[in-house]
Symmetry: C2
Subunit: 175 residues, 2 copies
Amino acid sequence: MDDQLVEAKRHFVEGISRISNFWGFPKAMGALFAVIYLSPTPSTLDEMVVEVGVSKGAVSTNIRSLERLGMVHKKLVVGDRKDYYLAETDFWKIVKGILREREKNEFDKALQSVGESLELVEATPAHEESQQTQAFYKERMTALKQFFDSLDNVVATLLAIDDIKNSVLKGLFNR
Amino acid sequence: MDDQLVEAKRHFVEGISRISNFWGFPKAMGALFAVIYLSPTPSTLDEMVVEVGVSKGAVSTNIRSLERLGMVHKKLVVGDRKDYYLAETDFWKIVKGILREREKNEFDKALQSVGESLELVEATPAHEESQQTQAFYKERMTALKQFFDSLDNVVATLLAIDDIKNSVLKGLFNR
DNA sequence: TACTTTGTTTAGTTTAAACTAAACGTTCAA
DNA sequence: TTGAACGTTTAGTTTAAACTAAACAAAGTA
């Protein structure tokens, strides 16, 4: 293939790897997505081992992460035991999927513990000597909780807007 | 101090540490912010060493990260060589600051390389045998670039809306 | 039944981030 | 001018994530 295209692909894969890394994912995971995304035909595990240059095990685990995020899709071919993978090309869909899934993950557990801390403070019987501290904690924790709740609302609103676009309007105008 | 308040604080600090960790920052950095945020008086380095339970060096480097993100502010007291730190309590301001700073960081360098890859593809002279590949790369890279540009626009819009709120309206109604 | 071909899991290794302890530079006070 | 009180930097260590190699399980094929 044309050298310049090979170079363009290499550069692209490297860029996506860096983005992956920036968001706290393994570099190999980004590289993997980039390779699948730039492949005109569905990719197999062994192809990816060659393309990305990591072990079979690493491809196997990373591809599962990508699938969980909805960034790639497994495509099964009848009479063929290989797994084929395709890239999701609707990036907004990926983002929305991740936002929708967030309740289940570590992130919301953490947010919850802010709420729990606040409840603890509020449930504390007022003691003469620690009353000021209690009031201060309450104020600060409430402020942070409100911020998180607002963030939640922003996200929920964005998702709702998108839902309307996709259901109501599609229904109205029949696509 | 009241045991229950101590426990509430501990729980809060742990929660923020986990959030910090989730976003790819050191856990100690989150703990540090939480401690400062819950302190009614400005915090000094040595206090934080005790409160968070890490070394002076770790506090020093982590506090600098927090400052860079605009999450804490150094407060100098005349006739006192200690540095005092206060927490930023306007979280939207923190978020906006981070969004505004993002051009300078690793993230945008990565986005740029997607654009560069596309340019490489477009600058490739059309060869008979690789023409289809070239067209495919161009299509995929363009789609991704457009997504990134849209994201950029969303962010820019949000920032602009906020600027209007803060300047025009404030001016009109004189706060 | 044994052998291939596939993807997954596991035990151990590598690597990079975050930490500690201690040296250091600076500033002020005595 | 020495020493104490700071915050920062550095050299080395610890720790956790991500990887490799290889064993493995499943499912088909000869």
